[in-house]
Symmetry: C2
Subunit: 401 residues, 2 copies
């Protein structure tokens, strides 16, 4: 019989006490389960004597939001812990440290980041993170470069891709992002106030064609080991620190998907600023901050990525003049297209974001949703001819005029 | 200790005698090793009493052409036997039947095709195979469609891709096709008479840029389970029959690579007709036959593939109007580009083809080589803007004017 079972808080304390050299013998351990309770249990364990703490994250075998009818592979917990360790070897300051992974319990013991907050919450409070673009640009550049054919042994890359085949998690993305929002699917969930806009998207075959192109990229282009779910709820921040968590959707896919995810979630908050800003002036200022952050994500990524490529590129043919420029042009287009898909799905599809869903006034909320759809569909439509991140900023600015 | 060792002919007979229900008890078995002796042993075993026969193919752990310094993964034998069985389930008339695979000896027992000849040899004898384009078009359409996200369960496709990760064989392709011919690499081997043309290719950065794009596709685009080495030496033919063999380079890659391989090898024979045709009239006639076959390979593939997609496509988004046309346009371009790379490498790189290397007169041979390079480089240069197979035919016709 499998030793796997979801731990209780009491069992979590027992487990933590058994970890070698983590807590002192006289530790007074207190445990709280702080997960959203949907896909995973997350135990926060503190020793009240020493103040030492850690996180134990355990995978659940189904999505509670949908029920046991939606089984999930527990293997995603192994993938998450291994990816955190790869990311940790490439950017030790930008992910939580992993102490151990228990393959029987599908449980990862890792660094406690309680001194950070979830970035989505910070953005809803209109806080600013001046180092974020630099941090995430470096994270994206290093994790994507060093797991790709550009920056690692190409045979080992193939073997590594085999260790991160993640069919159940990918299927969730394929359904929720690249299919259901574009049809009247039972999983969809959207505000009745915007039914007109949603039905127009369902009928828009030109838009579907662009989404199908992006879906195909997601299904077939194994460029790099992606985080796979890099929204602002997967990022912990302080003003001086950024930590990327939760890579359980990791797999070998198109690099633009991770970059686009960050952009999309900044732009979703941009749309949500209909509500969160104190007044019109504050709204304009904060939206400018968000757009400058979108720009910074791309420019910091690009600068880091080009430097890595020039200094540590492993492929002779890929050093051919013009190839790097062509690669980055296409990658930017991919990122913008994926960003558009990620925005649309958060308005029409199953899983929403608090930046918009938590807006109390129905008309303000609907206005934010229309904004997000306008920006998202514009990015999807135009992505394959974009040449500069300025055009993304312009798309967002035009939508609020 | 591993039970693997290369069999002798006597051991091969003993092994065949032990196969259940294949040969009668009183069989008088005779064995000949008929492989090229480079990568594999191929035992042809006949019962002189009943006339029954079979083939036993055993992988060697290194490439004899280079020596033990070039180790090969024996796992390619497992891949080959499994792929033959997948292909056999999709096109039973177009591959040899596999009786069994011995995972300890890396040995596949399969149908004997001695009543066929290797297609390359047939083309060097200027024979015609009127059914070939239809056969190979159907083979390509069915094997590529039903192993892709278009025609199979997308989760199972990911798991299947994991079973066909083939790093050592892919590395050979990546080096010999997408790198070495474009630089003064020690593995290269070319006729000193064409050194001028070869050096021009080494210096041509625009050409390298296109090759780098195709190299990237080969490294990252996991569209379908490819044969991976579909040249005319991997195809057995009779006038009324086509059998595809030797899928030991199989992996999940870009569909155009297999289609381009067939086109390239027809065009290499086209170049070789400087010698093989009896006279100018015969040469023109046979070259027209070859070009019509190139056309037929694409048109038969395309017709079969579109029918399968329309009738058995599994992906809702990929049924969006316009997607199929865009997919096939891009696939054709890929195929033409890969065909060009496959032609160039057979003239400059390590491994050549008899269609050209067996030409006795040095000047005629050099002329055939120049022709192959002219067609190959033109296809590489133009591939990303081609729209019709007529343009490929035109490229070949222009080269001989």
């Amino acid at each position: 019989m499998s030793p796997y079972h979801p731990l209780t808080e009491a069992e979590a304390i027992e487990y933590a006490r058994g970890l070698d050299g983590v807590f002192p013998r006289e530790a007074r351990l207190v445990c709280r389960e702080i997960g959203d309770g949907n896909l995973n249990l997350v135990f926060h364990i503190v020793d009240e004597s020493s103040g030492r703490s850690l996180i134990m994250k355990q995978a659940l075998p189904y999505a509670k939001i949908v029920g046991e009818s939606w089984p999930l592979s527990l293997d995603r917990a192994r993938i998450e812990s291994e990816v955190l360790q790869i990311e940790g070897s490439l950017c030790p300051d930008l992910v939580p440290h992993v102490y151990r992974f228990d393959k029987d319990l599908y449980l990862t013991v890792m660094e406690d980041l309680s001194d950070h907050i979830i970035m989505r919450k910070g953005l809803m409070e209109c806080r600013r993170y001046p180092l974020f673009a630099g941090h995430i640009g470096r994270f994206l550049a290093r994790t994507l470069f060093f797991t790709s054919d550009l920056g690692m042994d190409q045979k080992e890359k193939k073997r590594q891709a085999g260790r991160f085949i993640n069919p159940d998690q990918c299927k969730i993305t394929e359904d929720l992002i690249f299919d259901e929002p574009y049809t009247d699917a039972p999983n969809n969930s959207f505000d009745p106030n915007i039914r007109g806009e949603v039905e127009a998207i369902w009928a828009d075959r030109e838009l579907h064609l662009q989404v199908a192109m992006l879906r195909q990229k997601f299904l077939t282009e194994g460029q790099a080991l992606l985080h796979g779910d890099l929204h602002t709820g997967s990022i912990f921040v302080r003003e001086d620190s950024t930590k990327v968590i939760d890579p359980e959707f990791a797999y070998y896919g198109p690099m633009g998907f991770d970059i686009g995810a960050v952009m999309a979630n900044l732009l979703l908050n941009f749309a949500g600023q209909e509500h969160w800003s104190a007044d019109a002036k504050a709204r304009t200022d904060y939206r400018n901050y968000l757009l400058e952050t979108v720009r910074g994500v791309w420019t910091e990524f690009e600068a880091n990525f080009r430097t890595l490529w020039n200094e540590q590129g492993t492929d002779r043919m890929f050093a051919t003049p013009g190839f790097q420029d062509a690669f980055l042009r296409r990658l930017f287009r991919d990122a913008a297209g994926f960003a558009g898909c990620k925005m649309v799905r958060r308005i029409i599809g199953l899983a929403h974001v608090a930046d918009i869903d938590a807006i109390p006034d129905p008309e303000t909320k609907a206005q934010a949703e229309r904004l997000a759809l306008a920006i998202g569909t514009a990015l999807i439509r135009s992505h394959s001819s974009l040449t500069s991140v300025d055009e993304v900023l312009e798309t967002a600015r035009k939508a609020v005029q």
